[in-house]
Symmetry: D2
Subunit: 425 residues, 4 copies
């Protein structure tokens, strides 16, 4: 049907190039430029910089982290005009292609960011052994987004090659900052999903190679909060009454946050994951910082947790006379794939000699995913949305310094998306 062997090598090259230069969310300057240069010669119109997402970006990193990435991009020789467009965390890219012929509007999401993980340089780790380990110590593509990006590029290549045979409109979204569920919402708010008839997102997962699982039941809804308590320091021995103890307020809040009652309608979670406060043992701490998250099986259950959490934070601060700031740095809603996908995917992939099984082993994807914001928007406008898992054996689980996957999953994923695209024409 098309020259898969050629694509296969190409996918591997793309993936390895990307793997060497991991960038944290909202700082994907080199990654975006890479995508730009691959897609430039093709049939797509490319949207960059402030066209991609709205200004209200959640969880933008510190200016220090941003500067580090920007400087790396400059040092890597990224075109200055491109960099100027992206400056200020305006990363990511949307590629659109209008066939000019009536037909469906297809939208796809590919996430492109990496993680703050120190990649193993053990000889047993393939990227280390074969020379494509991260060149930036402390940053790593440990969740497969390098592969997701390559899959997007592969799909674009096929659309381009068959551009004269296709109908309708195609939108390929290369999304920044999926880690921490930060980036999707700002893209949705820009309107990119408002007219899609079909929406597809996906993830490489630890299932047998050749397996595709459409219609993943649901992701946990989640809210990520950064909380800062600001009190007043005082000498703990000399003038304890003059302090406003931010550390103690934060501890009291932490204790209370962990005792929000469970909910009869399903599982809920809360975790205060980090706590940093104080400058010295004999000083009443004037500052405490918490990073926490709530989760729920549904958007409503997560909202129940998040609302309770915010009320507890607010009033505990007031009980102790300290100021507080709550910053929502990430959010994911729960979403359900439309139920008809299983059959549609089965039919579409029936003839594939790469896909061995279209499975209904639905399961929660564990953790959260902000493609759900896109799914929700598409469904609100009457479109159909789903989330696919592409099976691969994994060297280690996601977010592990030894994480790696079988690169053959890349062509399987491209094949699946392409066959589905044709099927839905």
């Amino acid at each position: 049907m098309y020259r898969m062997e050629k694509l296969q090598n190409q996918l591997k090259t793309w993936r390895r190039d990307l793997h060497k230069r991991p960038e944290l969310g909202w700082c994907e300057y080199q990654t975006t430029a890479y995508i730009y240069h691959v897609l430039k010669p093709l049939c797509f119109t490319l949207h960059l910089g402030n066209e991609v997402s709205s200004k209200e970006k959640m969880g933008v990193p510190s200016s220090e982290v941003d500067r580090l990435h920007f400087k790396r991009a400059e040092e890597a020789g990224i075109d200055a005009k491109l960099l100027e467009k992206m400056a200020g965390n305006q990363t990511g890219l949307v590629a659109t292609f209008d066939t000019g012929k009536a037909g469906k509007h297809m939208a796809y999401r590919f996430d492109i960011d990496a993680l703050p993980i120190f990649e193993s340089n053990d000889a047993s780790h393939l990227p280390a052994k074969e020379g494509f380990r991260s060149i930036y110590d402390g940053h790593m593509h440990a969740c497969g987004h390098d592969g997701h990006t390559a899959i997007g590029l592969g799909l674009a290549q096929l659309i381009h090659e068959h551009r004269n045979e296709l109908n309708g409109v195609f939108t390929l979204i290369f999304q920044p900052a999926e880690e921490g569920v930060r980036g999707a919402k700002a893209i949705v708010e820009k309107g990119w999903l408002d007219h899609a008839d079909y929406f597809l997102a996906g993830h490489i997962m630890g299932q047998p190679l050749g397996t595709v699982v459409p219609g993943v039941a649901s992701a946990l809804a989640t809210t990520k909060l950064n909380v800062t308590f600001t009190g007043k320091s005082a000498h703990a021995g000399g003038n304890p009454e003059e302090g406003r103890n931010a550390l103690l307020a934060a501890a009291q809040a932490t204790v209370q946050l962990h005792s929000i009652p469970p909910h009869s309608q399903g599982a809920t979670r809360l975790n205060v994951g980090t706590f940093h406060a104080g400058s010295g043992r004999n000083i009443i701490a004037d500052r405490a910082e918490l990073e926490l998250e709530t989760r729920g099986e549904t958007t409503e259950l997560n909202a129940y947790m998040a609302e309770n959490a915010k009320r507890i934070i607010r009033h505990t601060a007031e009980a102790w006379g300290v100021d507080y700031a709550i910053d929502r740095v990430g959010e994911g809603i729960s979403a359900k794939s439309d139920p008809q996908w299983l059959e549609m995917v089965k039919r579409a992939l029936a003839a594939s000699n790469l896909v061995e099984e279209v499975s209904d082993r639905y399961e929660a994807i564990g953790g959260s995913e902000d493609a759900t914001f896109m799914m929700e928007r598409v469904q609100q406008h009457g479109g159909l949305a789903t989330y696919l898992l592409y099976g691969s054996t994994l060297a280690e689980k996601h977010h592990h310094p030894f994480f790696d996957y079988d690169e053959r999953v890349l062509e399987i994923a491209v094949d699946s998306l392409w066959r589905l695209t044709l099927h839905l024409q």
Copy 2:
């Protein structure tokens, strides 16, 4: 100088009569009537019912407790007209005597209420042995206020006998509800202390018999709070999210209340002394009740504690979405006796053959005392105020089921007050 032997027997009789019929604060119906009948034949004008204290009485007991006492008074044959005047917790009595001659205005405070303690009926306990134990099980004069009342009656007797030789004005205040520091403030607010040149209050204490300690340094300032949290019950297994857990909110508040920081200017205290919540183990509690107190070496230190406590209570309730009510049921300020008293008392009692020592072994009276409100008012108007301790060996410490004192302290106290009165003429 006067017939002390006769008075001695009289004091004992009064004390024992009163001891048999202890009444809780704001319910001293029989006690007030007893005082009334003793003073009636004398030279005093007697003020009863709504003349004694303002409407804003702190720590009024439940209507159930009040009814019990009122019924006892009716059953004891107390005059119906007197009872009618006192109905609604308008207990206590102020006796005034204006000599018509220019002179000082002397004011004295005698507290008259008893405690919710079950008096021992062990043979070793003198009131049990000699037949004047409380006839009301669960109520007991275990703090000596029966004696204080008798001392007040004794002083009144002497004033009456010498009425023609005296100058100035005399105000004897028989105060209800000193326990829990509830009664003095409402009397002060009625204005009874506004014109006093000298003010004296006192207490029987565990010091050698014959010792009088004037100018007790200070009492701890204190605030007594009753707190009720009102939430919403729900089945703890079935619908935990529907509850508003008053018990948990109260526990969170208790934990936080006990961590109010200490103060560099002096000792502070907080105690949540009682905690009652919930109706069953499988029901989320919709009600929790706390009794707590704050204390401080000064009025300001106590205010620091009380303000912090109220802020914590308020915001913890709000953090947990429960309602709250804070009821101030008692309050004592700190007060200092004017320093010149030690010398004045020494001179006045030099010739007494009952008083063996006027001591300067000042010490904090431990706990709190609301005569301090009266002392403060007198001092604010330029008068001099003090607080005397009358020494007696004690069978057991105050508030103990075996508490008892040496009845000879009564005449020593009367002698002291009378000699001081003459000295200050």
Copy 3:
């Protein structure tokens, strides 16, 4: 098939007699005697007193509560010999009938205790209107165990009438103290379930009259704990360091108990339902009492909660230097009906003109049930066990002062049990 009309009136009479004389768990003296007298003339061997349950009874009430019930039984003229046998909370009764013919061993459980609820005497409440309201204010059959007992008596009557046609062995267990899941375990430990081939228990539930739901999925496993912290009292103002604050320790424990992490394998619950501590606001509390419960979707999940709870209680007590006692006063495990029951019950009741629907609307019975201990024991020995719901409209939900059910459910339940019995012969 048998004279149902006659039984119908009988069931109503029994139920109303029992309803008038509700008794709390482990104090069912009159109730047991009533059962005894009904069954005495029949074919059963009756086991009473120390034959019924092992000595290790959970959640035995205070001696005060026991005395109250025992005295009521004496006043009601219960036979002294019977009372003597039951004295010391040895209530309940096991009725056995061995046909002498080979066959199955059938066991049934009927719970007989009432609740500490003040029954409504509103005219709209049928028991009040028709004169069979509880004669003991504050105690009420508000969970239908009066009906369950009547059902057991009805089944016994039918077995007796058909005693010559039946094969195998019959064991009818009239269990005390189901409320609080206290009584079943001690009966199981006595061995009564060790030889049963089939076990049936049931409950009147709010479903349409005529519906029977066999094979109720599962009950929540639960553990009921009474916790006492014992510290040392001290004057909160004078000697705070000398106290060992049981109230504060209990509050700290409560806070921590409510923050035991959730479990990925299913729902868990914890509730501190009551909290009583302290004797006065100015005394550091030397005693605090908590009533709490844990629950879990499975026995393992409940064990996870209970173990964590006990560890927190133990170490929080030690952190505050107070003693503690943990008393397990109730326990229920989770249990599953054997899956074949749905079909068996459907077949058995197909011809009933009382039962309109055998439903598979399985649902958790909400809360807990200690018949699960019996089910588990039977299943461990290779028998089959199930739990049936008998549908009835309810005037109000269980445990409500207005709780009442349609008495026609009694004959439907008896008919169901009898037809099942014949079917399983």
Copy 4:
């Protein structure tokens, strides 16, 4: 009496040299070498390295901090042999001089370490303006120990100049690591104070220049603890039950630590000053680190706090199933100057034209001081010990980036110590 003008300039030079090269406690490599080189030509025997203090040093800094200081010392050209002796935090120096003549044994303590404070480089800050600001950003002599060291050198100079006129033995202790009350104990354990007849320590304080305050009432006793909780990480959404939450345990402990009851015998303090825990918001934290301190007006009161704190830490860790380590990194006891000092100092300094007032404005020195260990040891062996304050106006309070004092205080202090030395001969 001696050429004070010359010494004056010398003191200033020493002080400014030292001020430029501040070193943290237990890392005073350059400072010790500086002292060594000044004292080398004089009459003293110098004790360095492992002779100074015992091995059990409290609060030794991280090896990283140590390496930084050691490298600085190497770069500064400090003699390699000296450095070798001091390697491994064996800093500080003891200078002894035995006159060979019978007489008193005098011991003096001078503390030499600096603080982790970023010194101001504002033009209004004298050290910045006059070019002797710290050359090590982030480290600063902000507590006057540069001056204390200079005072010690000045006293040594005078002893040397008058060596032939003096009797008895002289021990000058240049103590490392006074900040955090870490260094004194290990020196005491080495025996340096076992034979002293008189002991003197002192501090520059914010009192009028020319004032000397001997016999400072007392320092607060204190204990400094570093606490580490070690749990087990787990995915907070996926497997909450598998975690052992060190962060939550630390928060629970913090809350409880701050509610240790006050003590009737005097002021107590506790402060958890820093709290660092966790690696990510979605991970249950496996590590939490607290820095805390307790204080008390007396050694006993501090022990009361420290014991309670340790018990709470231990059992809270166990309640949450996490490991804990408690590291005592600093300790100061309370101590009282012997009362005869006021008169002795008054007499000794009567003729000084530098000292304008010997004040009895005793006050707690605020915070803690580990010279108290030395005072205690001297007093235990029958010697007399005191602590002097040397008054100076201050540019800003201690530990402030703008801290500075009037350098004239240096000669006043030397004059005082020297006159006292002669007086006590």
